[in-house]
């Protein structure tokens, strides 16, 4: 009994593992020319050049969290490395086992030492968030098997130079590998619900997730298409809009899966702005915006994996307070208003003070000014 209690204290659920893996594969980051070289190795040259990317670089021996990686790049470390560079202290990223160790939330094991925290399983037992390991060479995190039987997996691969979702390789990529299960993994997950939505804090946003087995199944129809049966399980996302803009969302799903995208102002289906089977474009104003990726039900339910990509050209954040002309009212009503910022409308738009010098705040106010002028026009 004691052993079970100890084990459960450190258990991680499969959906959390896959959530982490997606963040590594889609993580946006930028580098400058400083990160093309590394000060501890004269021969080092990054695969990357100055620019913006998604997905953490492959780094031989690397075991970085996302925050540590961003800080390391800001500090001027080299972006990624390969075995021929040697293990360098002045480069950042993850290697294949560093990546799997991170998403399993373990210490840094290698492909040759994972056996101490895993159990071999047969290929028929393979579940999402299990790994497929080749001791001494490579390891991948299994994510899904498509309707065409293609294994889809996350990996930090030196050949691809980055952490990625690999879907086109087929089973032969894993010829000679051994499926393994982390000893402290449990089924399920509790996030992506009305009470605990996936928070979107920056755009473009990308996510790869499942409605099959999703923790939420409370919204069955939407006001923007009340006769469409969406009574299958759903995944919920949320973000806050400070300045209105255009939201564009694309959902792609597998053969035999039907996941639709809905844009709402509250998580109840009653305040649906737009919905579609694959692509939706809609203007959204200040306040909370919810996305529901819901399972269509026809002759039967069509749950399964989906890929979501979203852009938004407004400003994310708490809505700017509305000036009533009474200084006592500004920012005083709680909710999503900014209690510490006072904003005054003028003929030239909106100007701000007491922004704390935040460039973001200034940008938000500037864009608010543009939006205000557009509305007046």
């Amino acid at each position: 009994m004691i052993t079970l209690l100890v084990a459960s204290a450190f258990a991680i659920d499969r959906e959390d593992v896959l959530d982490q893996a997606a963040q590594y594969a889609f993580h946006p980051w930028s580098m400058t020319s400083v990160n093309e070289t590394a000060d501890c190795s004269a021969s080092y040259q990054s695969d990357y050049v100055a620019g913006s990317y998604r997905g953490l670089p492959y780094d031989w021996g690397g075991y970085y969290t996302l925050d540590e990686y961003d800080q390391a790049i800001a500090d001027g470390l080299g972006a990624g490395s390969h075995s021929w560079h040697g293990v360098l202290s002045c480069t950042a990223g993850v290697d294949c086992s560093g990546f799997v160790s991170q998403v399993w939330d373990t210490a840094h094991y290698s492909t040759s030492t994972f056996y101490s925290v895993t159990t071999d399983i047969s290929i028929s037992e393979l579940k999402r968030a299990d790994a497929v390991n080749d001791a001494g060479s490579h390891v991948v995190l299994f994510a899904y098997e498509t309707g065409a039987g293609m294994p889809v997996f996350y990996e930090a691969a030196g050949s691809a130079q980055r952490t990625r979702l690999n879907s086109g390789a087929g089973w032969s990529y894993l010829d000679g590998y051994q499926p393994v299960r982390y000893d402290d993994i449990v089924d399920g997950g509790s996030s992506a619900t009305v009470g605990e939505p996936i928070e979107i804090d920056a755009f473009p946003f990308e996510d790869f997730r499942w409605t099959a087995g999703a923790a939420s199944d409370v919204i069955d129809s939407y006001s923007c298409s009340p006769n469409t049966d969406e009574s299958g399980p759903e995944v919920l996302y949320k973000f806050s809009v400070a300045v209105a803009g255009t939201l564009h969302a694309v959902v792609s799903d597998d053969d035999g899966v039907d996941v639709d995208v809905h844009v709402m102002t509250s998580p109840d289906g009653e305040h649906c702005l737009a919905r579609h089977d694959s692509e939706v474009t809609v203007e959204v104003g200040p306040g909370d915006v919810w996305l529901a990726l819901d399972t269509y039900v026809g002759a039967h339910e069509f749950p399964g994996p989906f890929l979501l990509d979203v852009t938004f050209d407004g400003v994310v954040g708490d809505p700017l307070p509305i000036d009533t002309g009474n200084p006592e009212d500004t920012g005083s009503t709680g909710g999503n208003r900014l209690p510490w910022r006072r904003v005054y409308a003028t003929d030239g738009g909106i100007s701000g003070c007491d922004t704390g010098g935040s460039p973001f705040a200034l940008l938000a106010i500037g864009l608010a000014s543009v939006a205000a002028r557009r509305r007046r026009a």
Partner: protein, 259 residues
Amino acid sequence: MLLFVSVALAGDVGSVGPVSGPDGLRVEERVVPWAEFGFVPAAQEQKAIGPDRVAAGADGLAAVWDPVRQQVLVLHDLVVQGAFAASRVDDLAFAGRDLVLLEGRTIALVGADGRDHGNLPVPDLVPTNIDLLVQGSDVWGVDPFGNRHAIAHVEGGLSVATGASFGGPAFAKVEVTPRAGALKTSVRTLGAGWAIVDSVVSDFPIGVERAVVHDGRSLPLETRSRSWTPADDADVDAEGRLVVIVPLADGLHVRRISQ
């Protein structure tokens, strides 16, 4: 960014193999020696790195990405014609006689001689993990489910894609009868009725047999060759033939398979 570094490496490099295959499929093969490519054997925590992307175009043109020497080799009728430097290529596809290169979140249009014809950012709405596909004058990214996402138009240069972003399935589904006793079967659809079928035939560890399939006919392909081999790749050319690269001990086998 792109430099033409060599031309006509040699018409006598490699060899043309048999021109007939089993099951009625016609096979042409050329072996390009490893001296022409970079290859890094697998190390602890790193798969082998070698040529792992191929694009097939019109009039016998093909191109192979060599990530180690950071070059694109251009072949004509399976013979290497030259190479140009490219610092980072995630995928490549032919648009007429030019090549579209996916370089991170940028696509570049280059001539087969490496001349730069411009580039464009990949739209933010296009997923990260995509394969390139050129159909007519449209450049698409194909996501893990085989659905297309509009990236650009290519006609006298690159231009921003207009209209809907989501383009639906890239290819018609290929129905395959699983091999008897297979534990798992994966079907990678490549267009023009071609597919690569992997059959998992044993467990602890995974053992796989691979075959090219067209119209119910199949041709076996090697797996796990050259020890820890990089993944092989395939593409359908403008004439509907399948071009596939297979890394073996004596070199990179470039095969063109037709009905």
